[in-house]
């Protein structure tokens, strides 16, 4: 089946508020450059055979480009995010409308919980690895695990620079993942090493360039530029590495993965290889 990814062009992208340590309104982002980088990413994905679905950008929603945070896709179900910050919660009706219009069953978490979708919940094999504290709640992940009938393994994100799990952990295939060890505490590292047989560590410099925020299509990994060690480690693990310069989005604390939402299941998600029970 052809990979399908949801993206939103950066027509209204900008640094209009600061909700993570990367954002600095005084620096701003160059929209033309952002658009150029976004197109390069889209083209790279299309080149890999991906069908890119385009969400219509909305004025006043600068972070709508980060479709990974729309929600969590599981088969034909879309668990809509409960954003911690009001500025992003306004994106949810837009995402919900798109998914409803595209034959997904749209579901919502209880209002008392925060959950930021595929930004904080990533399948690796049959397990749903889930980041909590900064944005999503551990209890919300447990709720999701229960709702989907999967084992969820919440790990605490202890470094505010890596505020979403997809900024420091990237499943490549069942049992294989990238991670930045310093984003987790001892418990989290033990959970990851205990449940992911092959973990590729990404060093501090390349993690800070959001090397872990990568898009996986088949055996190809698309990630931000100037991550030579990561590219070498991926090659050693028999993955092809494609670098796309995405620094305008790094200013908002996002990169390749944040700009995409896999609609047919990530490559590493065990469930996509099995029919629904």
């Amino acid at each position: 089946m052809q990979p399908r990814i949801l993206m939103c062009p950066p027509d209204h992208y900008g640094i209009e508020y600061e909700i993570n340590p990367w954002m600095n309104r005084s620096l701003g982002a160059v929209r033309e450059l952002a658009y150029h980088q976004w197109r390069a990413l889209r083209d790279a994905l299309v080149g890999l055979g991906v069908t890119v679905e385009v969400l219509t950008p909305q004025p006043g929603l600068p972070d709508l480009v980060f479709t990974a945070n729309a929600g969590l896709v599981f088969r034909g179900r879309f668990l809509s995010s409960r954003f911690r910050h009001e500025v992003r919660a306004r994106e949810s009706p837009v995402f919900d409308a798109w998914f409803a219009a595209h034959a997904f069953g749209v579901e919502h978490l209880p209002e008392t919980m925060y959950h930021e979708g595929a930004g904080d919940a990533l399948f690796c094999g049959d397990d749903l690895f889930a980041g909590y504290r900064t944005r999503s709640d551990a209890a919300a992940h447990q709720w999701v695990g229960n709702a989907l009938g999967v084992r969820v393994l919440p790990v605490e994100l202890v470094n505010p620079r890596y505020y979403h799990l997809d900024t420091c952990f990237c499943p490549l295939a069942p049992g294989v993942a990238l991670y930045h060890p310093d984003a987790f505490d001892a418990y989290g590292r033990k959970v990851l090493t205990g449940h992911v047989p092959k973990l590729i560590a990404v060093g501090e410099d390349e993690a800070a360039r959001f090397g872990c925020n990568a898009v996986v299509v088949g055996k190809t990994v698309v990630h931000n530029s100037r991550c030579p060690q990561l590219a070498a480690d991926l090659a050693a693990a028999r993955f092809r590495s494609i670098e796309v310069e995405l620094d305008e989005f790094l200013k908002a604390g996002g990169s390749a993965k944040c700009l995409t939402l896999r609609l047919d299941g990530e490559e590493a998600a065990g469930w996509k290889y099995r029919p629904a029970a």
Partner: protein, 412 residues
């Protein structure tokens, strides 16, 4: 008993594989609090969620708050039970059906969203909410008045079990094993003496529950000395203890047996009846002391030192002495009134009174039960007074050793 601040939290989901449970438990301990896992269900398969209900305890409210704030992000959320359920008593002297039956452990009920401590904690009672709804207390069945608001069911009630064995090191370290006649008594006596000294130093009362064998075995003067030395502050007994104590003062005998010679004396079997009659003729024990008729013994010391006592009657009593309360309900109430402030209870040589008092005592009052028969101590424990340490010993040798131990400490 130290005030303990407690909250219950629950965690559910994949809390084992994700190490969230150990992480939470570690966080509780590292912040100086304690946990007790009250319920734990492990998911049978890897996709099945697990569940843990955890009691978090801290010595100070600030510590508890910081622990709760720390563990909340890991998914340990406070259990928010509803207020307790209340039914109005339709009859005097009986609870509504389904009444909550109390234990002797510290208990709180939830009223208007707040946890409120239950006063007059006592086992086998009901809990009555005051008309304003801000306080709760244990009330025995006979004490129920029509219209009382009585707690029913189990919702909105939390019971604090006694400290774990590991926390008992400050008192009764030897309490971990059952009663035995083969324990080294010197160690037990030393610990009881230490507990009595601590109770006295803390300004709490020491309660003695004594049977007549205390006097029969020649221990009366030892108890009198404990009173003189300030180690007994409340006395519960029956007609017999007081009668034989006074008989000894009047005739030098107990049940007609000379306490000097150990032999029955002529007409000795009449001594206790003549004793009771004499006291009845003057109107009571206090009057006998005031008249200069009673000049020694346990009851004399109680009167001289204003030690409150309750003499509870029974159907086999001779006389009885005018001081004896012959209505058992009134006896229970009289004892209840004297229990607040008791920190330690010494029970010697009485099965019936020991069990009766054990029923009235809150679980945090430590009890030493001394009896020649191991069954007495076992019975006490079986009826829920698990805070009891038992010593199998005749009364007088135990009291002699206890007085010597207390004297040793006093001299030190």
């Amino acid at each position: 008993m130290a005030a303990r601040h407690v909250e219950h939290v629950e965690m559910s989901g994949h809390i084992v594989d994700s190490l969230l449970l150990p992480k939470v438990l570690d966080a509780i301990l590292s912040r100086g609090a304690e946990y007790h896992i009250q319920e734990f269900r492990v998911g049978a398969r890897q996709d099945d969620p697990s569940y843990a209900r955890i009691e978090v305890r801290a010595d100070a409210p600030a510590v508890l708050e910081s622990v709760l704030a720390e563990i909340h992000p890991h998914g340990a959320v406070p259990v928010h039970p509803a207020d307790c359920t209340v039914a109005v008593a339709d009859l005097a002297g009986a609870f509504p059906d389904g009444f909550y039956c109390s234990t002797n452990f510290r208990t709180e009920v939830r009223l208007g969203g707040e946890w409120v401590g239950v006063e007059d904690q006592e086992m086998d009672c009901g809990v009555v909410i005051d008309p304003e709804g801000g306080a709760a207390r244990c009330v025995p069945m006979v004490g129920v008045r029509a219209g009382d608001k009585v707690v029913v069911g189990r919702r909105g009630i939390r019971v604090f079990p006694p400290e774990s064995a590991g926390k008992r090191h400050d008192l009764f370290e030897f309490m971990t094993s059952a009663v035995s006649s083969e324990k080294p008594k010197a160690v037990s006596v030393r610990e009881i003496a230490a507990a009595m000294r601590r109770t006295k130093a803390a300004g709490e009362k020491i309660l003695a529950v004594l049977g007549p064998a205390v006097v029969h075995t020649g221990g009366g003067e030892l108890v009198a000395k404990l009173i003189r030395d300030g180690y007994l502050h409340v006395l519960f007994a029956g007609n017999a203890l007081a009668t034989h104590d006074i008989e000894q003062a009047f005739y030098g005998t107990s049940l007609g047996v000379s306490l000097e010679k150990g032999l029955p004396t002529d007409e000795g079997h009449e001594h206790h009846l003549r004793t009771i009659n004499s006291i009845r003729r003057v109107g009571g024990i206090k009057q006998a002391v005031a008249a200069g008729r009673l000049t020694s013994g346990i009851m004399y010391e109680c009167v001289k030192r204003d030690i409150p006592y309750v003499l509870a009657g029974s159907i086999r009593d001779d006389g009885p002495l005018p001081d004896v309360v012959t209505d058992v309900i009134q006896s229970q109430d009289a004892m209840r009134r004297l229990i607040p402030g008791v920190g330690f209870c010494l029970m010697v040589a009485t099965t019936l009174h020991s069990i009766a008092v054990g029923n009235l005592l809150p679980g945090w009052v430590r009890v030493a039960c001394v009896d020649i028969s191991p069954a007495t101590v076992t019975k006490l424990m079986d009826r829920g007074s698990t805070q009891t340490v038992g010593i199998v010993s005749d009364a007088e040798p135990f009291l002699r050793a206890l007085v010597a131990e207390l004297d040793k400490a006093g001299a030190a």
